[in-house]
C-alpha cells in the first residue's frame, strides 16, 4: 500500500470510529452520555467566594462530572452509581443540608465551609479529600454544588459562629468539661468512655432514615469536620445537620465550650502528642478513685 492509501484508510477508520462513538454514546445511560449533566438547573451564573478566589459553576460542572458524579449522582441527590455500595450515603445536594458548618443549625453553610469540607474530605467515610485539586477547581465545585437547591437563591448563609480565644488547658477545665459531658448527655450516644457505645447509640438514624453511628473518640484521630481544637469547638456548637448530632449552642456558654473541648480530647486515647490526655492521666493516677463514673448511675450526682 502506498502512503496515500494509508492516509485514506486511517481517515476512513477514524470517521467510522467517531460515528460509532456518537451512536453508542446517545444510547448510553445519561451517566455516560457526552453531557450527563445536561439536566442540571441553569448553572451559568452561580459563583462562590473563597479566600479571594471566585468559583464559577460552569467550570465546576466539568469537575463535578469528572470527580463527583459517581457518588453524588447526575442529579446531585447522592444517588450516583456507587451510592448503593457506600455507607454512609453520599450527600444529597438537593436538600442543601450540610454537616460541617460554621453557621447555626438549620442554616446554609458559608462557601468557605463547603470549600473546607471538600478539601478535607470526610475521614471516616468514602468522601475523599480533594486537596489534590487546585483551589480554583475546589472553588468552582462549591459554586456548582449551590446550583442543586433553590435554597441558595432564597436564603443567605447563617451568621458565622464566633469562637473566643482558647482558654488554658488545666485540670479544672477538663473536670468541668467532664461534668458537661455527663450533664448534656453526650455519653448517651458517644458512650461514657467515648467508645460510641452509649445506650442510644444503636438506635440512631440520620435524616434519611439510615442507621448511623456516633463518633468513636477512642479510635478516631480526626473528626470529619476538622482536627483542631477550634474545629472540635465548632462541631458541637453548630451540630452536624442531617445527623442526630445536635447543636449545643443554646445550652453551652462560649468559655464552657472550651472546657468540653479539653475533656473530649482526653477520650482520644489513640491521638499522638495529646497534652490534655497526658494531664488527665496523671490526674487520674492520683485521684481516679474519687471520680464518679460517667453514665446513668451518676446522672443525679453530676447535677
Amino acid at each position: 500500500m502506498t502512503l496515500k492509501k494509508f492516509a485514506v484508510t486511517f481517515a476512513l477508520g477514524s470517521i467510522a470510529l467517531l460515528t460509532a462513538g456518537a451512536r453508542v454514546s446517545t444510547a448510553q445511560s445519561h451517566v455516560n452520555s457526552p453531557d450527563p449533566l445536561l439536566g442540571t438547573p441553569s448553572v451559568a451564573t452561580e459563583t462562590s467566594q473563597v479566600n479571594g478566589l471566585t468559583g464559577h459553576a460552569e467550570e465546576g460542572k466539568h469537575q463535578y462530572r469528572r470527580f463527583c458524579i459517581g457518588c453524588h449522582g447526575p442529579d446531585g441527590n447522592g444517588q450516583g452509581m456507587n451510592a448503593q455500595w457506600i455507607d454512609p450515603q453520599p450527600r444529597d445536594f438537593t436538600e442543601a443540608t450540610f454537616k460541617c458548618r460554621s453557621t447555626p443549625t438549620g442554616t446554609l453553610p458559608t462557601d468557605e465551609d463547603l470549600f473546607n469540607a471538600i478539601t478535607r474530605g470526610f475521614v471516616t467515610t468514602n468522601m475523599p479529600s480533594w486537596r489534590p485539586l487546585n483551589p480554583q477547581q475546589r472553588a468552582d465545585l462549591v459554586a456548582f454544588i449551590k446550583t442543586w437547591s433553590p435554597r441558595w437563591a432564597k436564603e443567605k448563609p447563617g451568621a458565622v459562629l464566633n469562637i473566643p480565644p482558647e482558654t488554658a488547658v488545666t485540670i479544672e477545665s477538663i473536670l468541668h468539661g467532664r461534668e458537661l459531658f455527663q450533664k448534656l448527655e453526650c455519653w448517651k450516644c458517644h458512650g461514657p468512655e467515648g467508645h460510641a457505645d452509649g445506650p442510644s447509640a444503636s438506635t440512631l438514624t440520620d435524616s434519611k432514615g439510615n442507621p448511623i453511628k456516633p463518633f468513636n473518640f477512642s479510635t478516631g484521630e480526626r473528626f470529619m469536620c476538622g482536627d483542631s481544637n477550634r474545629d472540635l469547638y465548632r462541631i458541637f456548637m453548630t451540630g452536624l445537620d442531617g445527623s442526630p448530632m445536635p447543636s449545643f449552642a443554646d445550652v453551652i456558654q462560649p468559655n464552657d465550650a472550651w472546657d468540653l473541648v479539653h475533656f473530649l480530647r482526653t477520650l482520644q486515647v489513640a491521638l499522638p502528642n495529646n497534652q490534655e490526655l497526658t494531664l488527665w492521666q496523671s490526674y487520674k493516677a492520683a485521684h481516679g478513685k474519687d471520680l464518679k463514673p460517667i453514665g446513668p448511675d451518676s446522672a443525679g450526682g453530676a447535677q
Binding site: F10, S14, R65, F122, K213
Partner: protein, 496 residues
C-alpha cells in the same frame, strides 16, 4: 443495603480485633525488619492507585484519578504517592467487604497494519541470500499482551503492586512487583519502595495513551547510539529500592533510587525472562524532582490548570566484559559509566495538555565498542557515544471520555561511537524522527470497569538502526538510507 455488607465494612465489628492482631503482628515484623521501629508506630493509614481495583475499592470513577486512563491526573498522583491510599479511614484492608478482590485485567484486541521500508529480504523467497531490499508489510487482527494487576494496602501505610504481564503469546514475566512503606516518621517526605518498578518518570510510558507498535513507546526512553553495548532504557522498569517524598498535594515531588545495574533483570541476569546475559554486581542511581504550580487565568476566569516541570538524572554503569568458565559468561565485570539527564513538563491550558521532554545521553567510549574490555586499547576514532532529543506530546480532552492525541519525537546522535572521519559513517547515523496521532474514546467508564476504543497512526523514520518497534525483517537493506515504519492501529482496550 444488606446488613451483611455493613458488617463486612465495619471495623468496629468483633471480628476486627482478631484481624487487627494478625495484621499488626505480621506487618510490625516486616516493618521493623525493613524500615525501622518508627514505621511500625505509624501503622494504621492508607494510599490508592488508578486501576479498577482501586476504583472499586473506593467507589471512584476512573476519571477521578486519570486524565484519561491510564494516565494519572494530580488526584491519582497524590493517591499513588500516598502508597495507594486516600489517607482516610477506608484505606486499610480491614474496611473491605471480604468478597472484594483487588485484581484488574487489561488486554487489547486490535487490528493493525505495520509496514517498514528498506528491509532485507531474500532476493527470491527461500533462496536465503538476504540480498533483496524492500518494504515489509503485515496486517491483521491481533492481541496485545495482558496485564494482570493486583495492588492494594496490606495495612495502613503498607501497600503493594504485583503485575505479572505477558506478551501476546502468553510468555509471562513480573513487570512490576514491589512493596511500599509510606509516611515513615509520619512524614509524606519519606516513603520507601522495594522491588521492581517504573522509574519515577514525570512522563510515564507505562501509563500513557498510545498502543500502536510505533507510537506505543517513547523513542528516547529506549534509545542508544548505534553500536553501543548499553542496554539501558529510561522507560524500562528497574529493580531496587526508591526513597521518595512529596508535599501533601504532591505539587513538590522528589525521588532517589538505587537500582541494580542490570536493566531490571532478575535472577542475576539482565532480563526478566530466561536467557539474559549475566548481570554485574554494581548499582545505578536515579534522581528525579518536580514542582507543580497553578497557572492563573485572565481575571474573572478559573485559571489554566496545573503546570508541572521537573528534571531527572540517571547515572549507571554496564559491564564491558564477563568472568567466564569454559567460555560461558558468569558475571559482568570491567564496568564503565553512562548517564542520562533531562527535563520534562506536564503543562495544561484548560483542556489542552502539553508534555515536553528533553534528554541528553552520554556513554563511556568503552560502552560504544563491542568486545573491547575496559582497560584495553580503544580502536582508532573511538569516542563517547552521545545523543540528545525528546518529544512533545499533546492531548486535547473534549471531556473525560474523549481525548485526541498527537506527538512529535526527534533524536539526534551527538557523537557516534566511532568518529565519522574514521568510520566514514554519516554523523546522523541513528537519528530518529517520529510522529503519532491518536484518538481514544471511553464509552464505558464506571468504577468497576473501563473500555476505550483506540485509533492511532504512527510514522517513524530511522537511519542505520531498526525502528524501536521491532517491525520489519530485523535487518536493514541499505544502512545509509532511511527506514520508514508506519503503524495503523484500532484497538479495544479493556480494563476490568
Amino acid at each position: 443495603m444488606s446488613t451483611k455488607f455493613r458488617e463486612g465494612a465495619n471495623p468496629m465489628n468483633t471480628k476486627w480485633s482478631r484481624w487487627k492482631t494478625i495484621w499488626t503482628c505480621a506487618f510490625l515484623l516486616i516493618a521493623i525488619v525493613l524500615c525501622d521501629a518508627r514505621a511500625a508506630s505509624a501503622l494504621p493509614t492508607g494510599k490508592v492507585m488508578a486501576l479498577p481495583m482501586f476504583a472499586r475499592k473506593y467507589g471512584l470513577p476512573c476519571s477521578a484519578c486519570h486524565t484519561a486512563w491510564p494516565e494519572l491526573n494530580n488526584f491519582g498522583q497524590v493517591f499513588r504517592d500516598n502508597g495507594y491510599q486516600l489517607m482516610n479511614d477506608r484505606d486499610s484492608p480491614i474496611w473491605q467487604n471480604p468478597s472484594y478482590f483487588p485484581i484488574s485485567f487489561r488486554i487489547t484486541p486490535s487490528w493493525h497494519r505495520e509496514s517498514t521500508t528498506n528491509q532485507a529480504f531474500d532476493s527470491v523467497p527461500g533462496n536465503g541470500d538476504g540480498l533483496g531490499v524492500g518494504t515489509l508489510t503485515q496486517a491483521g487482527f491481533d492481541l496485545s499482551g495482558m496485564d494482570l494487576w493486583s495492588g492494594g494496602t496490606l495495612y495502613k501505610n503498607i501497600s503493594f503492586i504485583l503485575l505479572p504481564s505477558s506478551d501476546p503469546t502468553a510468555v509471562w514475566h513480573f513487570e512490576s512487583a514491589f512493596i511500599r512503606f509510606d509516611n515513615l516518621w509520619h512524614s509524606p517526605w519519606l516513603n520507601v519502595k522495594f522491588g521492581r518498578f517504573e522509574l519515577d518518570n514525570l512522563i510515564s510510558e507505562k501509563r500513557f495513551l498510545f498502543l500502536s507498535a510505533n507510537g506505543g513507546l517513547y523513542q528516547i526512553y529506549h534509545f542508544n547510539v548505534p553500536g553501543s553495548i548499553n542496554n539501558f532504557g529510561y522507560g524500562d522498569n528497574q529493580i531496587g529500592v526508591e526513597l521518595a517524598g512529596h508535599s501533601a498535594n504532591s505539587y513538590t515531588r522528589y525521588s532517589v533510587s538505587m537500582l541494580s545495574s542490570n536493566e531490571g533483570g532478575v535472577n542475576f541476569t539482565t532480563d526478566v525472562v530466561p536467557g539474559g546475559s549475566p548481570s554485574n554486581r554494581t548499582y545505578d542511581v536515579n534522581l528525579a524532582f518536580s514542582q507543580a504550580f497553578n497557572a492563573p487565568g485572565p481575571p474573572g476566569e478559573s485559571g489554566f490548570g496545573l503546570e508541572r516541570v521537573g528534571a531527572f538524572a540517571y547515572i549507571g554503569q554496564r559491564p564491558t566484559n564477563f568472568e567466564t568458565e569454559l567460555g560461558t559468561q558468569l558475571v559482568g565485570i570491567n564496568n564503565k559509566p553512562f548517564y542520562r539527564i533531562g527535563f520534562a513538563g506536564d503543562l495544561s491550558y484548560k483542556n489542552l495538555e502539553l508534555m515536553p521532554l528533553f534528554m541528553y545521553g552520554h556513554d563511556n567510549p568503552y560502552l560504544g565498542q563491542f568486545g573491547v574490555p575496559a582497560g584495553s586499547t580503544l580502536p582508532a576514532g573511538a569516542q563517547a557515544p552521545t545523543f540528545y532529543g525528546g518529544f512533545l506530546e499533546a492531548h486535547y480532552y473534549f471531556n473525560p471520555q474523549n481525548v485526541a492525541l498527537a506527538r512529535f519525537e526527534q533524536i539526534n546522535v551527538g557523537q557516534q561511537a566511532i568518529s565519522p572521519s574514521v568510520s566514514g559513517v554519516s554523523g546522523s547515523n541513528g537519528n530518529i524522527t517520529a510522529v503519532s496521532f491518536g484518538y481514544r474514546w471511553y464509552p464505558i467508564m464506571f468504577s468497576r470497569a473501563g473500555v476505550a476504543l483506540d485509533g492511532e497512526f504512527s510514522r517513524v523514520r530511522t537511519i542505520g538502526q531498526e525502528p524501536e518497534s521491532g517491525n520489519g525483517s530485523g535487518f536493514i537493506g541499505n544502512p545509509t538510507a532511511a527506514v520508514w515504519s508506519n503503524s495503523i492501529y484500532f484497538g479495544i482496550d479493556f480494563d476490568f
